[in-house]
Symmetry: C2
């Protein structure tokens, strides 16, 4: 059964004492020190009875595992995902980067405070050492102690040789630290579990995933082409009845989500209907746009013409941002414009009007927060301004101009806090003048227009209404902004609209001032929180893959028509290990369920730890003492065999 494992100590149980569950008290000790020199017991069926190291059998010394060849999983077509993950599994194990030679002083240090070390300390003093494990008595000699004799937490080598303190003791395999204090105190203590990603973030990510992967029923969209240039899986992102001429571009437009055939990445296709490109000089401008990379601009990836839609269309390909919403839909949809808190009520301060009274009362103080009157908080407006000016600055610095600073062409993403200017470059292509000597000649004027557009946009946002931009109401709008927001904001808006004092986007910066620090602090904290969330998940994918591999091996019905495959050799060891991980019981026979135990033991397996482990056969007649490093070898051999079987048989048939 386990004849192959000459270096695992196999002991036939002398007597079954009355308590049947004595296994559990043995396995709880978990660390069985230095069993490679058992003098009293010669296994009855162990093949070559001698357990001493020999050149032909792998010795314990070679089991330190850290310098051993890394897991070389043969790749197979059917198992691509898992094969790709296996290097990460070993790379990620905390013991990987170091060899024991880096910290030679650590191998033999003893630590009385680590669990289960007391016995061990005495073992190194006595010539022969006796221990009762699971009802079986073991005898050890202290001489010829292997370098990892002091197992347990203390002996796990330092993962980071560059650590400032050579005497640091690094953690065992199962533990994650709690959230860092600076992140923990950022948030109100929630009921969310500390051990895994927060539910809110998870929900947000799952929503994004679902939207990214969503497709449509093709019966409902018979006109939708299967393939457009290098893109397929088209999904209309706007209602179909909206195919009237876009007021901004002067053409009918459609927007689709699509998947690149080669890369599988999702993009957004912005299609201009019935447009025939007749000048290739425009590629100069397109290339400039493609190079513009800014976190507040949806990047243009390519432009192509196509007849796939049954007409002459030109398609602009942008990054796809799942769950994005336009500024227009967010702030100027019919539901938010109407109602008693709308623009009309705010703009006409008649006495007797309830809404106006409340706004008149808190003119200078409470209105700065604009909580109850339907206006946006000032901080939101500044957040938009900082991002929009950042984007405009990046665009203008490249010698380009946005020209489409319209609420319908600005996207809100990530909980509506991130802004991205959309549809850049479309105007430049559609209105390209092939006869102009220099296509960039008009850019300075367009850039000035951008600043006025920004001012208009801010007025509309501040008044929460597009009607505020009509010629006869702009003065009322400015007054409303004066009343409701800080002097800084109204100054900025007036300056943008008159374009007297602001000649370029750089002149806006001083008016933002210290709010940059606020924006920076927000972005930094967001990254810190994400980092702490991702830190909680750092082991889980590796453990999941490990457990999947283990499950493909253990209890497999047959391999190569051999139904005893999973009951013999390496697989038998792994089956006993599976029982050790999941099916232990307490002394009184209850199931022992402890996730920390599962994680720790799996991590030790993955790391190939030299720690000892006691496995007991199902009939409780046999106890195997082996090490995690040996189990890891069993594991790798067995899985390699499976992979080879999965791929090689096909070859022999062909």
């Amino acid at each position: 059964m386990w004849e192959e494992h000459q270096n695992t100590v196999q002991v036939r149980r002398r007597e079954l004492v009355g308590e049947e569950r004595s296994m559990s008290c043995g396995v709880r000790a978990q660390v069985v020190p230095s069993v490679n020199n058992i003098t009293e017991f010669i296994p009855g069926s162990g093949g070559n009875g001698g357990l001493a190291h020999s050149a032909s059998t792998p010795s314990f010394h070679s089991f330190s595992g850290l310098g051993s060849p890394s897991l070389t999983t043969p790749s197979s077509l059917g198992f691509t995902s898992m094969t790709r993950s296996s290097p990460a599994a070993s790379v990620a194990s905390p013991q990987r980067p170091i060899s024991p030679q880096d910290s030679p002083s650590r191998g033999r240090c003893t630590s009385p405070n680590a669990g289960g070390q007391e016995d061990n300390g005495s073992a190194s003093n006595l010539p022969t050492y006796q221990e009762n494990v699971g009802g079986t008595t073991y005898f050890f000699t202290a001489q010829d102690q292997p370098p990892f004799a002091n197992t347990g937490a203390t002996a796990s080598p330092s993962p980071f040789t560059a650590a400032p303190q050579p005497t640091l003791v690094f953690p065992p395999y199962h533990v994650l630290p709690p959230t860092p204090a600076h992140v923990h105190h950022l948030r109100a203590p929630a009921n969310a579990p500390h051990f895994f990603m927060g539910d809110e973030l998870r929900q947000h990510l799952l929503e994004k995933h679902a939207l990214t992967l969503a497709h449509v029923d093709h019966e409902q969209f018979p006109d939708l082409p299967q393939e457009v240039d290098m893109y397929h899986e088209l999904v209309p992102l706007e209602p179909q009845h909206n195919v009237n001429k876009s007021s901004i571009f002067g053409y009918a437009t459609s927007v689709y989500k699509a998947t690149n055939i080669k890369t599988g990445l999702r993009y957004c296709l912005y299609r201009i209907h019935g447009y025939r490109l007749n000048n290739v000089k425009v590629t100069q401008l397109v290339d400039m746009w493609k190079k513009l990379q800014h976190s507040s601009v949806t990047q243009l990836r390519e432009v192509f013409t196509t007849k796939a839609f049954g007409d002459n269309s030109i398609v602009f390909v942008y990054d796809y941002h799942a769950g994005a919403e336009t500024l227009a839909a967010r702030h100027f949809s019919s539901s938010s414009m109407l109602g008693s808190n709308g623009w009309e009520a705010l703009a006409t301060p008649l006495p007797g009007n309830g809404a106006t009274e409340s706004s008149a009362r808190g003119i200078h103080k409470s209105h700065r927060h604009n909580s109850g009157n339907g206006l946006l908080p000032e901080s939101t407006l500044w957040n938009y301004i900082i991002q929009l000016t950042g984007a405009l600055r990046a665009i203008h610095t490249q010698g380009l101009a946005c020209r489409t600073l319209d609420p319908t062409k600005i996207l809100l993403t990530d909980n509506k806090s991130r802004i991205r200017i959309n549809c850049c470059g479309i105007h430049d292509v559609l209105n390209f003048d092939p006869n102009a000597a220099n296509p960039l000649a008009n850019m300075p004027q367009y850039q000035q227009d951008d600043l006025v557009s920004l001012g208009n946009l801010m007025v509309a946002l501040a008044c929460n209404s597009y009607m505020a931009l009509q010629r006869d109401s702009i003065q009322t709008a400015i007054e409303l902004i004066n009343r409701s927001y800080s002097r800084d904001l109204s100054m900025l808006v007036v300056c943008l609209l008159t374009s007297q004092r602001i000649k370029s986007i750089n002149d806006v910066m001083p008016m933002i001032g210290a709010r940059f620090y606020t924006a920076l602090e927000t972005a930094t904290q967001r990254a810190d929180v994400y980092e702490s969330e991702i830190a909680k998940e750092v082991h889980n994918s590796r453990l999941f893959r490990l457990l999947t591999k283990l499950n493909t091996i253990v209890d497999r019905h047959q391999l190569h028509m051999d139904t005893s495959w999973s009951e013999t050799g390496d697989r038998y060891m792994l089956k006993l290990f599976r029982d050790y991980v999941f099916h232990q019981t307490t002394e009184d026979g209850r199931p022992w369920l402890d996730l920390a135990h599962v994680v720790m033991v799996l991590n030790k397996l993955d790391a190939g730890s030299p720690d000892k482990i006691c496995l007991m056969s199902h009939d409780e007649q046999n106890i195997l003492v082996t090490s995690y490093s040996e189990l890891k070898r069993c594991f790798e051999r067995s899985f390699t065999e499976l992979l080879q079987a999965a791929s090689s048989h096909k070859t022999s048939l062909s």
Copy 2:
């Protein structure tokens, strides 16, 4: 064996055809449509032979699973971690938030483009429908079609009812989208797998974890107290021989990492040796510092006096940042100061000196990048300036002053790009004047001093040497900065040092200018990358916990001394399911290893999908057709039983 499962269709296999592995072709179809009205086959041993819905047996309709009571796992002490995780497991399943009522039109829609739907379409036309699954022929009638008759991808209900397109089809259970395009294009295409967190980030997180959890051998630190106030597990963070008087505070100091006994969070204890606090009025200042929260300041959490170290010490508790390094260690350690590229070579531009020649050559252009001459890149200096001024601004706004803007009291964290001012408040406490009427009276002067300190720090950093600050070399230093860096930077340094034009930290902002946008862009991109990394891991913790639970059930040796527990009833179903997930073979007998299959099937189980599933017994004599929702019930019942056994038995003994 499976008598309890009246609603699973059980069919005795009529004849074993020559191909033994016919199971696999059956299970590949995976979706068996509408099997609840099998007219031809009455299972031989199925108990009450009628398979029609009755009030007493759960009907297929109640299996839509979405409205079923959520997984109520009883909590148990030994299984805390896993119990806490189980709500997240169900919350996170993509189908959770919706009930089928929200999208009634979706239940019956047919989609020809979803896999395996062709047969199904014809099924709804024929009165009786025949299908061969795994060598067994099934007959269905089309009448009384259950609402989930059209299973497969199309029938999975929309996870998000607020989606703009009611016709969107949401993804099945196994798929993750690739990295979003805007993040994908940020980085050079790496060899890192797309499916899991990048190795670099993982390594960074694991390093932080190891350092956070590291402890020391107490034998080597016999003087270290076991407990100090509410903190234990002390780890010295600086070499012990450094206990001379700190040049900054005038006292001997020690720094320890420590764990809060109540919360388990790690903090940094900054101990001032031999200091006796004799005035409690100082708590006013301490409270002000405790309120100051900024991402570039290590936050002061509390201050206490203690005799635990054998003397009168005062301890300042700060957030612990794993892997932090001081600016002094980073830039002014002996190794970086010496060498041919040091301050001496740069400060004395003698002809004939090789280093100087190269610096003279590229005075205006290439030196801005300072790649080869040992000076810091200008962007690094601005990064420091932005963070330091942000921190100083937050401090000064609170009416406080830093007073310790020294390279040894500034920490670098997170790949050395984040700065945190350390040791805030210590000066205020140690030099507190109990006789002063207003302890804040001197703050304006201290704030001015902070600005000069900042100037000095920047000179030292720019010249890469502390010697540049000596009185007779400051002029040379300014010249070096003029030569090597932009005019903006040298202007800023001169203004800070002379404190003529800069009266407050706010006056620095205009000199930073557009570099704010750069810093903001960097922070935003960092958060975007983290979000995309965490999105890859969103399912893994849930799947790992699910697989762990499944493993604790399947093949368990005994429960309540019943060795057949895992072979009967619910557990038998789950065992067959385990084989279905992990042990399938191809038609020619090879193992079928496909991680996507594992993930999809486990996700369907977790979501309690109404999809059908074909399970085959080990002896290949029986085929069970059941649904994932029924399997989920089996799973929950079995695990609940285990949990109860783990806790209840103890109660009965006591």
